[in-house]
Symmetry: C2
DNA sequence: ATGAAAGCGCTAACAG
DNA sequence: CTGTTAGCGCTTTCAT
């Protein structure tokens, strides 16, 4: 498999090594390495040259320990949620632009959110961005007493916690509006069944329906956040009287709905329109092309980073609530002419 | 939004605080906190009590900097790959059991693998587990000169790099074997088109077909690792003479194939059987139920952690290659009776 | 522009 | 069993 390696007995090069080789003090070498001002041009060049030759890499532990500002942003996210991944990816970009480093901490079956955040705090992050936090308000408040905490995506808040999210109400309204404009009236909502943000979306559905004079057509089915949930809920639906359209809690749920509809031998969008929520990669797949409400991960990520930065600078954050945008694809179309 | 918080001006409690409050030396408090031996029962209790009261949490930066062994395991993974997430989740479990902490470093559009690994090294990880590494062999070898490196999933290796993976050849063979036993002969392979591990799977397909005397039926289509790729490849396929079965490079590709087949008005598995690879959550979805080759994330993760641990203990790692298992679900069935 | 000295919070020898 | 003494590798005053 692998030949016996001569595990380098060579200690990692330290700043002291570089300083010695360049004939300067450690302090000066430090200045050069972190690009601070206060070093002569020639010295700077020489030190950098030596550092490169020696393959010097600053030890982040030591650097973090010593410096007052770690410029570290902690992020908690759920591994099994594709959309979280999209947000995390955008956070990397936004953080880099703002001069922060990112520390990831995953939430999973074997790892409760509490442990995830605590490890971030122990690592010395200056602020924590929590994607769809599931902790209780008093726990969140506890974290927020230690560092600025930003809750992303979910409306969950607590004392001292900033919330960056898109206006779910507006998103659902946009979906309903779109369907109504296509002539649909009998629009069913399959809810998130207790999932984070589910209540707000359901409420928005009700309000929108009422505003369009469709109060009598309001119908909410118990769904959930996953494909199975949508499949189950829609399975019942198509067994009865078929509606014009379905607004699902999220994309994964909508995918389940699509499947149920298909199995019933119906066509989308000819017989039934379906809208999702998240504009996730799933929805964009060429064979899916799901009409969905976009939460715009890059913008949310940028807003979250900006929010944390503002708090750290003792400023008031702005732009916390974003207007989601409906992305119309192929799963919604004109209402069928019913009898 | 958020009421003006009184951002705790209270410095985080340090070990010195605990020691002082408990009336012992820092060293002794340290012994107690890390559960080392060499402290009296009464003292131990008192220190722990005080620590709890003060809400003390060890600063991982300081601890890491000072201690010879960080017991840190670094992991690089790709955010947009669901299967990577499954493996990472299992790594957390395995690492904890082995007494290691995990540091995550994501690879993404804005973050090349080189940066991901380097940040791990800077953080002081004792070993790096790289999931489907994409770095060139000489780069991998470079990392391996600094810490033990384990390449997970992909057969990519390099001087000094251990590879933990499942035997892809055996996996593909199992899929072909299964299909042959169902009476299929005209079995097409849609390949990974240059994706990591693609060549090995394709080679195994060819070998297996030959062994079953189906050399004449060998047919490899240019596919890829994503849904789109499978859709495109299978689209061409169904436009021509339809085969008995398809063995796709992975689950995502297989999903695309399923869609193309569906669009052509064919039924799975009645008209055509489809097998994937990964046994990912996608394949397990109730509306998919894809027959797939399981790479068994938990076992691979455990093996990778064990491998790293062995290297750190200067032992030879074992159990690097795993036998994958075919999970038969609903997308494969008896061969259709063709004319 | 450069260097000397101090110390971040902790662990690891050693001495008592 | 407990305390003392040194640092880990780096940044940060504060002199020069």
């Amino acid at each position: 498999m692998r030949r016996q390696p001569e595990r380098a007995p060579t200690r990692r090069t330290t700043l002291a090594d570089v300083a010695a080789a360049a004939g300067v003090s450690r302090a000066l070498a430090s200045i050069v390495m972190r690009g601070a001002e206060g070093a002569g041009e020639v010295t700077r060049r020489r030190v950098l040259e030596v550092a490169r030759e020696l393959g010097y890499r600053p030890d982040s532990r030591a650097r973090l320990l010593r410096s007052s500002r770690t410029r570290l942003l902690g992020v908690t996210f759920t591994l099994s949620e594709p959309f979280h991944g999209e947000v995390v990816e955008s956070i990397y970009a936004a953080a880099e632009a703002a001069g922060f480093d990112v520390v990831l901490s995953a939430v999973g079956t074997h790892r409760p959110e509490s442990r995830a955040v605590e490890s971030l705090l122990d690592a010395g992050v200056e602020a924590a961005l929590m994607i769809s936090p599931s902790s209780a308000p008093h726990e969140l408040a506890g974290y927020a007493r230690q560092v600025p905490v930003v809750s992303l995506l979910s409306p969950t808040s607590a004392e001292g916690v900033d919330v960056v999210r898109s206006d779910d109400g507006a998103g659902v309204r946009a979906a309903v509006e779109h369907l109504v404009s296509l002539g649909h009236r009998n629009i069913v909502h399959i809810d998130g069944a207790g999932a984070v943000a589910a209540d707000e979306r359901t409420a928005a559905y009700r309000t929108a329906m009422q505003e369009y004079g469709l109060a009598a057509d309001i119908r909410v089915l118990h769904g959930g956040a996953h494909e199975e949930d949508g499949l189950r809920a829609a399975g019942k639906l198509v067994a009865g009287s078929i509606p014009d359209a379905v607004v699902a809690f999220n994309d994964r749920c909508a995918l389940g709905v699509l499947e149920a509809v298909r199995r019933a031998g119906l066509n989308v969008p000819e017989d039934l329109s379906v809208a999702g929520y998240d504009d996730s990669q799933l929805s964009r797949l060429s064979h899916v092309q799901l009409t969905s409400v976009s939460q715009d991960a890059p913008r949310l990520a940028a807003a979250a980073v900006a929010c944390a930065a503002a708090r750290l600078a003792s400023e008031e954050p702005t732009g916390l609530v974003h207007q989601p945008q409906l992305v119309v694809r192929n799963t919604t179309g004109p209402a069928p002419a019913r009898v």
